[in-house]
Symmetry: C2
Subunit: 226 residues, 2 copies
């Protein structure tokens, strides 16, 4: 609840690292802190985009549900990362839901306050352009994967992407992996089972350790025969 602490959090975020103390406290003053329990929803797909969010503590997943009822995980976000921004900028409903995957503290900034703040801070705008650009690059890369590659390759790439962000020990269930790779839990289990047999990963309940990153990369690149 302390604005000073909020400023600290914002400062650590890539987005606001260019701001000086005064600007940080101005922004922190706009932010309200909210807490969420694991599995609690922070926002729902279709809601009006009243707030822009930054994770202070914990982890959030952004999900969309397909017409067949399956859940698709678009991304995980941790401390310092923003979400809900696309809707805020466009003024259209949130295109996906956000759900806490652990106990979370989230900073919420009113849409209009944030837009006003942004209009006079070109550096922050450029940062956001960078972040959006990176996310777009990532999404388009994944699109190509989904269009052309098979499940094993997609999973390998997802594991590598997760590892680059959180290290070699990944605390995700096969179900979550499946929801990220756009496959079923059974298939995710079978594929990770195969990787495990080949010594590329070490699996246990609720976690996967990457044992042989080189082999995983080779797998992700394409079929062995290249």
């Amino acid at each position: 609840m302390s604005p000073a602490k909020n400023a600290e959090i914002l400062k650590k975020s890539l987005i606001f690292s260019s701001l000086n103390e005064d600007e940080l406290s101005a922004l922190a003053g706009l932010a309200a802190e909210r807490s969420f329990q694991p599995d609690e929803f922070i926002l729902w797909e279709g809601d009006e985009p009243d707030y822009f969010y930054v994770v202070a503590e914990g982890q959030v997943k952004v999900v969309k549900n397909s017409s067949t009822g399956r859940e698709f995980i678009i991304a995980f976000f941790g401390p310092g990362e923003m979400f809900g921004e696309v809707a805020v900028f466009e003024g259209k409903p949130y295109p996906a839901s956000a759900q806490a995957t652990s106990a979370c503290r989230i900073l919420a900034i009113k849409r209009q306050s944030f837009l006003d703040f942004l209009a006079t801070r070109p550096q922050v705008a450029l940062r956001i352009i960078n972040i959006l650009g990176g996310r777009l690059r990532d999404a388009q890369g994944r699109l190509k994967d989904f269009a052309g590659e098979r499940v094993e390759q997609r999973l390998a790439r997802i594991l590598l992407m997760l590892a680059s962000r959180m290290g070699t020990t990944l605390r995700f269930t096969r179900q979550e992996l499946a929801d990220m790779a756009g496959t079923t839990t059974e298939t995710a289990i079978r594929v990770t089972g195969g990787l495990s047999e080949r010594g590329i990963i070490i699996t246990s309940r609720g976690q996967i350790i990457i044992a042989d990153e080189a082999k995983l990369k080779a797998l992700a690149e394409g079929p062995p025969e290249i």
Copy 2:
């Protein structure tokens, strides 16, 4: 080759509509005009991002090739639309290739000149944030489709998206549709054949006319039994 004409083109582009005459001519002065023949490549995936591009005339497709050799079409861009921007902002190699699909005139602006221009124009930066946001929303929506929906639904959505941008007469081959939907030419032919039999679209060589948008929307939303 006339800077005045370039300024006209830039003005019509959504990105620069907030600029005044002076700013437009300043930007137009930075732009070099280049012409491309159909099928000619404007930039290649992996190239250094030396230029930011805006389509003046004609149509461009942005493509990525999967490890299996298949081509995946990320997007088509027409007059006033930018491309290559993600790489320019991040300073990393272009993540995809751009190829002219018709005779084109393209405005090319040097990376650093554009970044400098942008640093002092928050309005333009906000516009770009909007455009990137829209593209990100679109890419994530498609991701969910690729992860969970069937080819018929994906194709239906692609046809609707194209129709919303270019009207009900779509000048694309089944091969191009297949490359957008991440399927094979044969399957695209079979699926469009089915839609044609049901009177939803009218097909002919190199073009598709949407005859019953409502039915197409119903198809795109999900399986009939809902």
